[in-house]
Symmetry: C2
Subunit: 363 residues, 2 copies
Amino acid sequence: MTLNSFHTSGNSPGPDRCRVGILGFGTVGSAIARRLTGPDSIPSLQLSHICDRRAREKQARQPEAPHGSAPPAWTDRFDDLLASDVDVVVEAIGGAEPAVDYVRAALLAGKSVVTSNRQVIAHHGPALLALAERQGRQLRYEAAVGGAMPIVRALGDGLAGDRITRIVAILNGTANAVLSRMDASGCTIDEAIADACARGYAEADPSADLDGVDAGAKLAILCALGFSLRVLPGQIELRTAARLDPGAFEGARLRGGTIRQIAHAEYLRDRSTLVAWVAPAFVPLTSLFARATGPQNAAIISGVYGGDITLTGSGAGGEATAVAAVGDLVVIARDRAAIVPAPVLVEPAEIRGLSDHKLAEAV
Amino acid sequence: MTLNSFHTSGNSPGPDRCRVGILGFGTVGSAIARRLTGPDSIPSLQLSHICDRRAREKQARQPEAPHGSAPPAWTDRFDDLLASDVDVVVEAIGGAEPAVDYVRAALLAGKSVVTSNRQVIAHHGPALLALAERQGRQLRYEAAVGGAMPIVRALGDGLAGDRITRIVAILNGTANAVLSRMDASGCTIDEAIADACARGYAEADPSADLDGVDAGAKLAILCALGFSLRVLPGQIELRTAARLDPGAFEGARLRGGTIRQIAHAEYLRDRSTLVAWVAPAFVPLTSLFARATGPQNAAIISGVYGGDITLTGSGAGGEATAVAAVGDLVVIARDRAAIVPAPVLVEPAEIRGLSDHKLAEAV
């Protein structure tokens, strides 16, 4: 399949519509495609290309495009996408490698990029944002943290007027579905994982979710946005939730609470010390976190001037992630010359993890 | 006091700092000034001018500027502000008139504008945004709705990828402080108002808060952002909370709930019908709204694709509003050429209010 296949998309694009190419047609990529071509499609956005290494097979399973609309061109070659006239590439591959190379290449080719990839942003976000700025293009990543919960925008823009001191959050919808299921039903973790898989909230191997690797990358991104700190995911202490048993939930219940996977970051500015960890933690039953069930995400952001801000929203599944990615596309289409500045980050003098108690406390 | 007084601010502004003029030095304006000149001042922002009709008297009460920083110039003449070199005017006067004329004049003079004025935005937002766009300047108004809770950004940008169907919210921190006080203490509304005044959450006459006029204007703004609907505040049915007595709270408690001032908007797209009202409403004790106490705001935003998103945050007082306004200033300083597009609005075929039951239900 070559660039020639793009010729099928010759119809009707208005000159001011933003042309979108999706890279990676999995759960997230296909949800974004449905959103861009379905009944609530967005006038300023045109899905013009889909690139997936199994393009032929996946294209064959797609329904016919609605009458009158130009169907997207499919390709299995990333170079085709780079050479095409798309304005924005949506990177929906996942995983740090090779996605970071694709994002860099897209920016170098003069495309803006929207990504849901927390590993890419956590490890390479500052460099990629600087590259985007030099290229006069945008890199947006609301979908990388919090699913449909707009926490990237809330921290980066809405709360830019405060001095943020603490972020405590549930950032992994899969782990929350598993733990809240154990909590509600008294089942084992394997039964809860099977249930989450059946509902589409977990992959067959959710270890990156339960071990905290996914939430740790997201927390590193939030530390950059909220505290202007350069933190790599490997610097954040992780404790796995994979070994929780029903007895742990019984014990928490006796103390008037339950257990959630909590991502916790607190910046002690005067000592230049960041305390950051992801761990299964005790949360009181009355807390925002205990009320987050299924694939929900939740966050409490504390600022010196505005006090606490809370956010909740759906944190797993293609639809929720697609809402965030499509929101970024709408914002780019509105103002294609907008600047998303690379953050000016400092390194904290010290990064601490959990002190040595058995079960962390959320707040 | 004339333009000459500006000469005192000649020191040290870097060429790339964004010069800010505050119009109206009341609760909000003075909180913004403290934020811009205090220990957490923001490097990209310089408070260069303050305009207030009682400038001489208010300036005399200000502390000395910190050593080495240029103090802002004071004036009682708006024309001085227009003729000055400020990049952004922060309108913090309040009330529709004459603030709208000042906002318009500032945009015409080539300034960007940040405002906390819900009446100005609810009545004149689309025209002013169109004017700002023509002028190549920005009009931002995060502080007009929700205090420190970043709901304008969440609805306008973060959830732009969803199709919003319903917004239910507590949008007036003063009314919430009064009602939650009655709820907690069993006191009369006059006692609760006196308490809110003592804590700085209410003015001596909080009738615009309790009658729903303030929340109605905010709800009209959210209908434009969330539904792309043109709704004037006068089209939203308001029922006052000013006549609530302790017995109403006792009755609600017996039903497992309490009473909050709720702003409710639901858009039935297929019938082009908006249901919108502000009223004291029954809320279950387990709901987000019952948990909002004191000057808190809270919102549940429902979308077809992302499900429910919730937000809470401090909704009254100068500090919370200043966080939102300063966030807007930071965003303007980052990208002075950014476009804040005027929304393309349609009129709903029908606007309905509450059906005729005595106490509204929140959701």
